[in-house]
């Protein structure tokens, strides 16, 4: 908490806030796309420091939250098989499937292991040639290069007992889906810095132009976020709609070219159903034909699974910025981080868990869609 106080009182923060206050004349709604940014905003209390004209809407950028339920159910089915070692990033373990989570499979005797890097899963496969090792390859463009490299290494080294259950999601199509929805109230976007570290910023100018919205690339640290917000407000007040890079130290227009080259070999773009949101055209990556041998979905034939979401959960509206987490009737009651009904209450980057953990327990605002 000491840091929070120092942060609020620091000269740089006060200057940025003063400048935002001077610039803003009208109400604006800004969406931060990335769950890491949502987390940072709430943890540092930026939502409470900003002038009331500026409303921050939390976007769909929590990879754990939007991984489709059917992908979780497939993971559970594979992880429960005897002989399988199922490797996953730690925050997927408590994400609810239709009736269980990976943690439960583990406690029932499944060999579920947490890995920090996807390469750890390849190593486990190398060390356990008699077992099938499956890696749950989820995430946005930031995580995709790591997952792609693990699959490429397995191919190069002919590690035949390794496969990946791939469910990648992509940011620009999600931004477009939100902008083209008639319910949207978003005036400007804060784009996720680390996604752009990999992909660059070249995908965004057509979106800024077509929907006439400023898109400002920024980071996760509180100063970066405030600088990004200031850049958005400046553009909005002047009636501009450009792509601006407020995170130049880590993002270039072209992005990481070696990473993009491997991504385009290993993956192919497909329509993807986002959890709670539904199908967004061309918004996901699956394994390309050349890597089909490493596709766990085929190896274990789990394509036919049907999934059931909890009827109480409103995470779809939360993920689209139509509902604040504390406006969900189950929030803090049936649904808490210990008893999550939806994925947005599980992950650190999920808006529901961030609201719960940082004490935004009471809905301070009306429904964003109440005017309908």
């Amino acid at each position: 908490m000491k840091y929070q106080e120092e942060f609020r009182n620091s000269g740089a923060v006060q200057r940025l806030l003063a400048e935002i206050r001077e610039t803003v004349t009208r109400p604006w709604s800004l969406m931060e796309v990335c769950g890491g940014q949502t987390h940072s905003i709430l943890r540092n209390g930026l939502d409470q420091l900003l002038p009331k004209e500026i409303r921050l809407i939390h976007g769909p950028g929590c990879p754990v939250c939007v991984t489709p339920l059917v992908a979780i159910d497939r993971a559970l089915a594979i992880a429960a098989r005897p002989g399988v070692i199922f490797c996953s990033f730690g925050d997927m373990l408590r994400v609810p499937g239709s009736d269980k989570d990976l943690f439960r499979i583990k406690s029932e005797g499944g060999d579920v292991r947490i890995v920090y890097s996807p390469l750890d899963a390849v190593k486990i496969a190398r060390e356990n040639p008699g077992r099938e090792v499956v890696f749950f390859a989820i995430g946005f463009e930031t995580t995709a290069p790591a997952n792609a490299m693990a699959i490429e290494v397995a191919r190069q080294q002919s590690i035949r007992n390794f496969s990946a259950l791939v469910s990648h999601v992509l940011v620009p199509p999600a931004i477009e889906a939100i902008l083209s929805s008639p319910a949207t109230r978003v005036n400007a976007f804060l784009a996720a810095g680390h996604v752009c570290s990999v992909m660059g910023t070249w995908e965004y100018p057509p979106l800024a132009e077509k929907y006439h919205v400023p898109i400002v690339v920024t980071g996760f640290e509180p100063y970066d976020l405030l600088a990004g917000i200031l850049a958005c407000v400046r553009q909005l007040e002047r009636g501009e709609a450009r792509v601006e890079n407020a995170y130049e130290r880590a993002v270039s227009e072209q992005g990481n070219l070696p990473a993009q080259a491997l991504l385009s070999r290993v993956f192919t773009t497909i329509d993807r159903a986002w959890r709670g949101i539904g199908v967004i055209p061309r918004s996901g990556w699956a394994l390309s034909d050349a890597y089909r041998d490493f596709d766990a979905e085929h190896r274990f034939s789990v394509g036919g699974i049907v999934a059931n979401e909890s009827p109480l959960c409103h995470s779809g509206e939360v993920l689209q910025g139509l509902l604040k987490p504390n406006q969900c009737p189950a929030f803090g009651k049936q649904c808490t981080p210990r008893t999550p009904l939806g994925a947005t209450m599980v992950s650190n980057e999920g808006a529901c868990s961030a609201y719960y953990n940082y004490g935004r327990l009471i809905a301070a605002e009306e429904l964003l869609c109440s005017a309908k």
Binding site: G36, G90, P118, H194, E221, A259
Partner: protein
Amino acid sequence: MCLAVPGQVKEIYGENGMQMGRVNFGGIVKEVCLAYLPEIAVGEYVVVHVGFAINKLDEAAAMKSIRTFKDLGLFEEEFGELGAFESS
């Protein structure tokens, strides 16, 4: 899992034909894949996500973010979760 953390490259070596290295994150040293930054050198700063360096940072920017990460306890959060699970 969205977090990408800044650190300094301490050592670079090849492993199974891939460029790997050791990176210091505010005192915690981890093995990192450096294949996506073919031109990186020892002493330079990188941003690392799930064990992969995805871009380079200049020293001034890196020092500033490393300080923020330390102040917020984010290094422990990023690397501690796994440790806690393994020891349980």
